[in-house]
């Protein structure tokens, strides 16, 4: 039997060493399954209307954790990602709000929308210091 070329444990462990980043691993995909499926439901116009009318009631139709529901109600995208949400699924939520990817990404950085847009105009966030927690680079 041949040995796999990549050690899965090392492969996954390295993802935890990236500052300010949650890689969408199988573990996160499992945790966020219903949160992400709820987001998918917002691709239908009638569901968006029902959600907008009473967000809490719509969320209560889904077997999501309370923390997931709170993250949605607060539009706290960092919290939603911590609860297993994926940005492309969460995009259905901020699109329902009429918000852009740039808006949503900006809210996760602690910067104002204007500050974030300005940073992008100036060439974006430098990778310097954002590569590795352990190696401090």
């Amino acid at each position: 039997m041949t040995t796999p070329r990549i050690d899965i444990h090392e492969y996954l462990a390295a993802f935890e060493d990236i500052p300010g980043t949650r890689v969408f691993t199988a573990q996160r995909a499992r945790k966020g399954y219903w949160l992400n499926q709820f987001c998918m439901s917002l691709m239908k116009h009638e569901n968006r209307e029902r959600f907008k009318k009473d967000e809490r009631a719509y969320l209560d139709e889904w077997p999501m954790t309370e923390a997931q529901k709170q993250a949605v109600l607060n539009r706290d995208y960092n919290a939603a990602i911590d609860e297993g949400g994926n940005i492309y699924f969460l995009a259905k939520l901020f699109s329902t709000d009429g918000k852009s990817f740039q808006y949503a990404a900006g809210t996760m950085t602690g910067m104002t929308q204007e500050e974030y847009a300005q940073m992008m105009l100036q060439g974006g966030r430098s990778p310097e210091g954002w590569r590795s927690i352990k190696e401090g680079r």
């Binding site: 949650r22 992400n36 691709m43 960092n78 699924f89 259905k92 740039q102 996760m108 940073m119 974006g124």
Partner: protein
């Protein structure tokens, strides 16, 4: 015999589609990008490809958390634009090329690439934005499209080398298709960007420019690049660049760079665009 004559890499970000659909292409923010794409628009009018193999990733539109194909191929007669939360983009329905698509699917499977065959699928900005960028506003798309969605969202995504080898298999498949077709392959997505977490907004110009250079002249380095390097250097969504290796693998050894464009920012991303000719 069908031939892959050229490859294109392009961003597919939704904000470009929105700028296009809302008539903002001449706004100062977007103008440099749309101005540059005028080159490829006139080039492609001369080239008149019959079909595009369009490598892209679905952004939780056709595939939810229930089905996550690593490599899929759209074999349907047509593909409708998806409603991604703000209504479908006002662009024509995408016409497929079922004969070519099924031929590629069968050939790749016999070549040990176990493609997922899709007969009904909506297509999102990942596929329709590049079409708008290359063909502009049209009543119907002037080409048939074979969509090749790749999972670059749920880890592990395919390795760069696996993507390259799939590209080679696609080339062999196209070359055994009996009809005389001019086929292009497009690799979309990228370049460096991160859409999530406190590190959102990451852009790495040095990495991107080296990637573009090596895609043309030294693809061996890129074939061996591990996922962690994309993640550290190009941001969590920069991993989309592995799809460019499918395009490059399908072009063969001898490529000629016809056009290049690099621009920061397009919303959250660095935009990279290459037009490569495949020489026999």
């Amino acid at each position: 015999m069908a031939r892959i004559t050229a490859g294109i890499t392009s961003s597919h970000i939704p904000a470009l589609g929105a700028a296009f659909d809302l008539g903002k292409t001449q706004d100062p923010y977007w103008k440099p990008i749309f101005d540059d794409y005028e080159w490829v628009k006139s080039w492609i009018k001369e080239e008149k490809p019959d079909a595009i193999i369009l490598v892209y990733n679905d952004h939780a539109s056709a595939f939810d958390m229930n089905i996550i194909p690593t490599f899929a191929i759209g074999c349907a007669e047509e593909f409708k634009p998806a409603d991604e939360g703000w209504g479908p983009r006002p662009v024509p329905v995408v016409k497929g090329h079922p004969d070519l698509a099924w031929h590629i699917a069968q050939s790749c499977i016999l070549d040990e690439f176990d493609m997922t065959i899709i007969n009904k699928m909506e297509v999102d900005h990942g596929l329709t934005v590049p079409l708008s960028m290359m063909f502009g506003k049209v009543d119907e798309w002037p080409v048939k499209v074979v969509p090749v969605p790749v999972n670059v969202v749920t880890y592990p995504v395919p390795s760069g080398n696996r993507c390259w080898l799939l590209g080679e298999a696609i080339r062999r498949a196209v070359e055994s298709y009996p009809e005389d077709l001019n086929v292009q392959i497009w690799g979309t997505g990228g370049m460096s960007h991160q859409l999530q977490g406190p590190r959102a907004g990451l852009v790495n110009k040095e990495f991107d420019l080296a990637f573009m250079n090596d895609l043309v002249t030294n693809p061996e380095r890129l074939r061996r690049m591990p996922h962690i390097e994309y993640l550290r250097e190009a941001g969590s969504e920069g991993i989309e660049l592995v799809m460019w290796l499918i395009m490059r693998g399908a072009l063969g050894d001898n490529v000629e760079e016809l056009h290049r464009f690099y621009h920061i920012p397009a919303s959250n991303t660095a935009l990279g665009h290459l037009v490569l000719k495949s020489n026999p």
